[in-house]
């Protein structure tokens, strides 16, 4: 009861804060400052017709690298704790509905995830959501079988390789034009085509592989009773 009341009070306080702040918010008709610069020059600078990805991967690529490191630390901690203290949840036999779904749906969902990653510079999507979609395929397959798959360390290998290639792509810029994570030294191509956007597609693939393997590792650790990820 006290817990419920505490939660309710927190919700009310947050609601009061939101009610006080939201009316003060003004929708600007025009972009200003950095936002204007990104929106007006983004497509020419990066060759990416999806400006969100252009900002995340090209303009603020260093922040994304930091974000990837944070995600790596978090997933490592989760996997470590769950490996050290396995709670040993038994994987029960899936029902017929779940087993059938886990046979039919993975292929289209996997394709969808790959599409998100490969078209991150053209249409909405990107490495992070694409990676999580692929990880959900792993989850679905795992739900459809009563045994825990043995990764034999391959997930960790993919994760490390993807992280490493993100860094190496950054250093490629240093070697060629003297700027870390420079996006445009390969040429940016025609915006809207598959081969465009400079390094954005390559970095998206690296991020997607990393996120997918990390989340898959976390899911596996949740089901695991020991062994390598």
């Amino acid at each position: 009861m006290i817990r419920t009341l505490t939660g309710l009070i927190i919700v009310l306080i947050l609601g009061a804060v939101a009610a006080a702040v939201v009316p003060e918010m003004q929708m600007r008709e025009e972009l200003q400052g950095v936002g204007y610069s990104y929106a007006s020059r983004g497509m020419d600078d990066t060759g990416s017709s999806n400006l969100v990805t252009a900002v995340i991967v090209a303009y603020r690529g260093l922040d994304t690298l930091g974000e990837v490191v944070v995600l790596f630390c978090a997933s490592t901690a989760v996997v470590l704790i769950l490996t050290l203290y396995p709670i040993g949840m038994k994987a029960s036999e899936p029902s017929r509905v779940v087993a059938f779904t886990a046979k039919v749906l993975p292929a289209p969902i996997l394709l969808f995830g790959v599409y998100f990653i490969a078209h991150s510079h053209i249409s909405p999507g990107g490495g992070f959501p694409g990676g999580t979609v692929i990880a959900s395929v792993f989850l679905l397959v795992m739900l459809g079988s009563s045994s825990v798959p043995d990764g034999k360390g391959r997930l960790s290998a993919i994760e490390s390789l993807a992280g490493l290639s993100f860094g190496l792509l950054g250093f490629w810029g240093i070697m060629t034009v003297g700027q870390f994570l420079n996006n445009a030294f390969l040429g940016t191509g025609t915006p809207g085509t598959l081969v465009s956007g400079g390094l954005i597609p390559l970095i998206s693939i690296a991020i997607g592989a990393k996120v997918a393997s990390e989340f898959s590792g976390v899911f596996k650790a949740f089901r695991n009773t020991g062994g390598t990820v």
Binding site: P129, T132, V133
Partner: protein, 78 residues
Amino acid sequence: MTVIVVTLGGMMVAAAIAVLFVRDLLSAIIITGFVSLSASVMFLLMDAPDVAITEASIGAVLATMIFLWGRGKIGEDR
């Protein structure tokens, strides 16, 4: 447009408050997932498809699944 946003927002607030009061942990998890899914639709209505995709895949699917497994691990005794 405004009608949809207000309706959806109202449902989200009602669901978020309901999470506090349901007895059953499973119901609470499912309602949390519903709030995430509504948030994703809201982002889509506000022309932010990138955020909507991320919210739908992480907030509505992966987080709900991790909650469900956590519930499976701690059992029903809260």
